[in-house]
């Protein structure tokens, strides 16, 4: 019911919307909840477990009942709090957790069976048989008990993340937050004022208090105008600070465009705010009182009823009653009367409450029952004279206020119990640099909020080194807060504590009876506080009931732990920026485009994309292409982009000494203009990486790493230099990206280069492993005579800008010689035929000894990993050591990852003798070929072993062969 001349909605801007398909209208400035109430809709949802009809309980983000689903299809948005959702034209909301309809929900049968469904019911009932839990019970329970559903479709919305920095973060824009922000801003500090609501002002928007002689919301508006005009202030509405983290980092969820029909703007933005200081001015949350059927639609918190009347000009009922244990409840009755709403009665559980002119105040009384299943019709009032019914369609209840101190607990701080407010309040220092002020600090009067806000700003300014600016404290009410505790009303039936998870007073008592007396145990046994509202409405009352039944005081009982996030945050918002291409960078070589043009499928190698193979006309599968490319390299010439290998430029007087320390072998003896293969160990003695290293000058080296380990090797080199050998005068930097580098491999590689380079190569100057400068079409380039294929081969490097052009030129020239490009598949076959290792073999658990390179660990010098690599266990011949395998039985297949056994042994773990790491079909040799690690392998050449793939159920008899299956003398690459 809309009230005349009340509220801040724009009566000139009507907005139409639907709820469960029924059309309604509201105004700009409404929330979905205020508009539903204005339209007389009281039943908005069904409860989680018992499917009880539920209405709107609150007017904020703590709402446990009024959760709806907005939109449909991929943009379906479940569990939206109607109390927070702003109304917009065409908004379509659906109720949740009911079937077939909200009004007639079949699963409400659960409610009738409630005596069986109490705390621990699931644990006790569905224990046996064990297998039934996963397959039968849990799915059924999950279907019946629940919230809104996800669409199951890919999320079509966009989300953002962002970082912000400030001197002072003020959380909450009520009187305390506004004063704090103004004080700090006037002094020149960078201030972020974050407000969860779409309008700043906090409780001032919902109350009729005057501040500085004018209505509170007008005072707030004036102050906000000043803040908005200042460059050093950032006002963030619709932004909930969700977590407090180390070193002044705060998480905040900004609902960017939930309040408008879908636009191109992101739906939400997740902020990481780094603040030197923070002031928490988050206010307080009113708590319900537990009594029988206190969950009837139409029973709300008193402050919510007042907020709907004052801010939105809506009365949630025609005959409203109030039930309170404190003075604050009287404000609801007072404001309703002023708005012309009939107040049927005010029931004060205290005997000494005040009087209120024009309102029937019943003191020393309690509400003990409520009737009206889908909407409140009457309540039962118990006094010393007995029980009587009162007709009322809305009950405003106030059990006192809980300071919204959640953020202060996010770093393991514990709040303290305060008798005077019957609530927990923060103690200083729970979050370094954060000060709680106003209602969230347990100071409930407007004057106290204003004062504490101003004082906290001064404290923050002092800590930040700013000189405080003039700030006058405005006049405001300073009423004392008077309360007498009342957590639950005695009586039969179910009195609800946790509306969202359907936990009653009886459930908490049952938990205590079954010895779940610790508050943390009670929480988990009853599920109290474990719903999306995280117990904001029920936590203190539940532990008060627990304290009572266990005969302990509340401080002794303690409270459960509040953890981030303060409100639910979607995974999409948390992971914003990482959707689709944002997940990881894509690294493209300069030959990418030309490779794609040739139809090469790309495979990922780390972040890089590399061609798998280059299909030729008539080829129908990758093997045909791969076999052809291998043959091509062995017989003519092949071109392969090898730019992805890490390249590190190393210079300085101590460069050679540095390399001697990081490589197992010696580089100080390497001649200028020569390249050497090097092996690097981790300090624990296992192989880290391998690659070639060229000496470009006396004090100038160029190291290459494998593609996958480039980053790790760079980090390792920096570690060795900065942490272990800072005295060495050596510097290095990655030049991976500067050079586009191509392998030119095969018997005709020399012919190709002689024709391509500006000057033909002089044979004696270019023996195997030579390197040096050349020019290609006038461009300064580097040439290395190195080979990963076992053929006479080179790698030619040009500045990356020429990469695309050079690749195309190389392909054209190779084509004329009967060659062409080759991809990763062929590269892999070529190296397996030659027994060259990759990270399939140096996978972190193999030593230089294991891969047959034990002799590369120089005896003459120390190096990283040397000492540990000499441990007995690491040089035991019975270790699994590198060998080659070829199938010799009926089954001609070898599979990477398969294990090796003696021919006659059962293929069980105890008999395991090794495993296969790399396999290929060798077109050169005409059979499958593998690299494997076999116990005592090198001593078993010529023997037979059994390969067993337990996954694919394949067994193959294999002969152990030398790992270098092709051209073991290496003549082809040396000549």
């Amino acid at each position: 019911m809309r009230l005349a001349n009340r509220g801040m909605v724009d009566r000139n801007a009507p907005v139409t919307f639907t709820f469960d398909g029924v059309g309604h209208s509201g105004f700009e400035g409404d929330t979905l909840a205020s508009a539903l109430l204005a339209n007389g809709v009281r039943l908005v949802g069904r409860s989680f477990k018992y499917h009880r009809p539920r209405g709107i309980l609150t007017a904020g983000s703590e709402e446990p009942n009024a959760l709806v689903t907005l939109g449909s299809g991929a943009r379906q948005d479940p569990n939206v709090r109607a109390t927070q959702q702003e109304l917009y034209e065409g908004l379509a909301a659906q109720s949740q957790n009911r079937w077939p309809s909200l009004d007639w929900d079949l699963l409400a049968l659960n409610d009738l069976a409630a005596p069986f469904f109490g705390a621990g019911f699931y644990y006790k009932t569905f224990m046996w048989p064990k297998a039934f839990w996963e397959k039968l019970y849990e799915p059924a329970i999950r279907r019946a008990a629940g919230l809104g559903a996800l669409s199951g479709l890919n999320n079509a919305d966009t989300y953002e993340r962002a970082f912000a920095f400030c001197d002072l973060l003020v959380i909450g824009s009520g009187p305390a937050g506004l004063m704090a922000a103004l004080g700090a801003a006037r002094a020149g500090a960078d201030v972020i004022l974050a407000e969860e609501d779409f309008r700043m002002g906090g409780r001032l928007l919902a109350e009729t208090h005057e501040v500085d002689g004018k209505p509170g919301h007008l005072w707030a508006a004036g102050l906000l105008d000043e803040l908005a005009s200042m460059d050093n202030v950032r006002l963030m509405t619709r932004t909930t600070v969700t977590g407090a983290y180390d070193q002044g980092t705060y998480g905040a969820l900004e609902r960017v465009s939930h309040h408008v029909p879908r636009s191109r703007a992101p739906l939400e933005c997740f902020w990481r705010i780094v603040a030197k200081r923070a002031i928490l001015a988050a206010g307080a949350l009113e708590r319900p009182v537990a009594f029988r059927n206190n969950d009837r639609p139409g029973i709300m918190t008193a402050s919510a009823v007042r907020a709907y009347a004052n801010r939105w000009g809506v009365s949630p009922g025609k005959a409203v009653s109030v039930f309170t244990n404190n003075d604050d409840g009287y404000r609801t009755a007072r404001d309703l009367v002023a708005a012309g709403v009939h107040v049927a009665a005010l029931i004060d559980s205290r005997h000494d409450g005040p009087d209120l002119p024009g309102v029937h105040v019943i003191k020393g009384a309690q509400v003990c029952d409520a009737a009206g299943r889908k909407g409140l019709e009457s309540i039962t009032i118990r006094t010393h004279r007995g029980e009587e019914k009162l007709l009322t369609d809305c009950l405003a209840m106030s059990g006192g206020w809980n300071p919204t101190l959640h953020l202060t607990c996010h770093m393991n701080g514990r709040p303290a119990w305060r008798e005077d407010i019957q609530g927990f309040a923060p103690v200083p220092g729970m979050i370094p640099g954060l000060q709680a002020v106003g209602a969230c600090n347990g100071s409930f009067s407007t004057a106290a909020c204003l004062r504490e806000g101003a004082e906290a700003a001064e404290d923050a300014l002092e800590a930040l080194g700013f000189k405080p600016a003039a700030l006058e404290l405005p006049q405001a009410e300073d009423d004392p807060f008077r309360i007498a505790p009342l957590w639950s009303v005695e009586g039969k039936g179910r009195a609800w504590l946790d509306f969202q998870n359907d936990v009653t007073v009886k459930d908490v008592k049952q938990a205590a009876v079954e010895n779940f007396r610790s508050v943390e145990h009670m929480k988990r046994y009853t599920t109290q506080g474990m719903a999306t509202d995280q117990g904001k409405n029920s936590n203190v009352a539940a532990l008060a009931v627990l304290a009572d039944v266990t005969g302990r005081a509340i401080p002794e009982t303690g409270t459960t732990t509040f953890r981030p996030p303060f409100v639910p945050v979607s995974i999409a918002a948390m992971g914003a920026g990482a959707q689709g291409k944002g997940f990881a960078p894509q690294r493209f070589t300069t030959s990418h485009k030309a490779s794609i043009e040739r139809g090469a499928p790309m495979i990922e190698a780390g972040l890089w994309y590399r061609p798998s193979y280059f299909p030729a006309p008539g080829e129908s599968n990758w093997r045909q292409a791969c076999d052809r490319e291998v043959k091509m390299v062995r017989e003519t010439v092949g071109i392969c982009d090898v730019s992805t290998l890490g390249k590190i430029d190393i210079q300085g007087p101590d460069a050679a000494a540095f390399l001697d320390f990081v490589y197992t072998n010696t580089f100080s003896t390497l001649k200028v203009g020569r390249t050497r293969y090097g092996l690097m160990l981790r300090e624990d003695g296992f192989v880290m990486d391998d690659g070639t290293c060229a000496r470009l000058g006396e004090t100038h080296f160029l190291m290459t790493t494998t593609t996958a380990a480039a980053g790790e090797v760079m980090r390792h080199l920096e570690f060795v230099h900065q942490c272990l050998r800072p005295e060495l005068d050596v510097v290095f930097t990655s030049v991976t990206e500067q050079w586009a580098q191509f392998a030119v491999a095969g018997p005709k590689s020399r012919d190709l280069l002689d024709a391509l380079l500006d000057k033909p190569l002089n044979g004696p100057d270019w023996p195997f492993m030579a390197c040096g400068p050349v020019t290609v079409m006038g461009v300064k380039a580097r040439l290395f005579r190195i080979s990963f294929s076992g053929e006479h081969a080179y790698e030619l490097a040009v500045p990356a800008r020429y990469g695309d052009a050079l690749f195309r030129e190389l392909l054209a020239r190779a084509g004329a010689l009967g060659g062409g490009p080759y991809g990763m598949e062929a590269l892999n076959v070529l190296r397996i035929e030659k027994g060259f290792i990759t990270h399939s073999e140096i996978h972190g658990r193999t030593t230089a000894y294991d891969v047959g390179l034990g002799k590369m660990v120089s005896e003459k010098k120390d190096c990283i990993g040397k000492t540990m690599s000499e441990r007995d266990g690491l040089i035991d011949p019975m270790r699994e050591r590198l060998v080659g395998l070829k199938p010799v039985g009926a089954v001609k297949q070898v599979i990477a990852g398969a294990h090796l056994f003696e021919v006659d042994d059962a293929p069980v773990r105890e008999n395991d003798k090794g495993y296969v790491t790399s396999v290929c079909y060798s077109p050169t040799l005409g059979h499958m070929l593998a690299l494997a690690f076999l116990k005592n392998g090198p001593e078993r050449i010529g023997e037979r072993v059994k390969m067993v793939d337990h996954v694919r159920k394949i067994e193959a008899l294999c002969e152990v062969v030398h790992p270098i299956a092709f051209d073991p003398e290496g003549g082809r690459m040396r000549d």
């Binding site: 983290y245 180390d246 070193q247 780094v274 920096e718 942490c723 800072p726």
Partner: protein, 86 residues
């Protein structure tokens, strides 16, 4: 979590690679014996309280730094360049 890089200033933890105890700075002599090497490579204390550990400012200036912090309070007490921290 934020770490004070002695070069770049205070930065978000995501810019740093974590290595572990600053013990890694004290590499034993090659002939220091098995025990010294096992301690160096494998054994680490797990203090409840002040600890010194190595971080690499990989996303920033590439400095290895030693951070002193408290594992209980999460307080970061200081940081210095590893090259001068031995």
């Amino acid at each position: 979590m934020r770490l004070p890089c002695p070069i770049c200033g205070e930065r978000d933890r995501r810019e740093f690679y974590y290595r572990g105890a600053a013990l890694a700075l004290h590499r034993p002599d090659p002939d220091a014996g098995d025990e010294a090497w096992a301690d160096y490579v494998h054994l680490r204390d797990n203090p409840a309280g002040v600890t010194r550990d190595l971080w690499y400012h990989e996303g920033g200036c590439s400095a290895w730094i030693v951070v002193t912090r408290n594992t209980v309070t999460h307080e970061v007490l200081g940081a210095e360049l590893a090259e001068g921290a031995r």
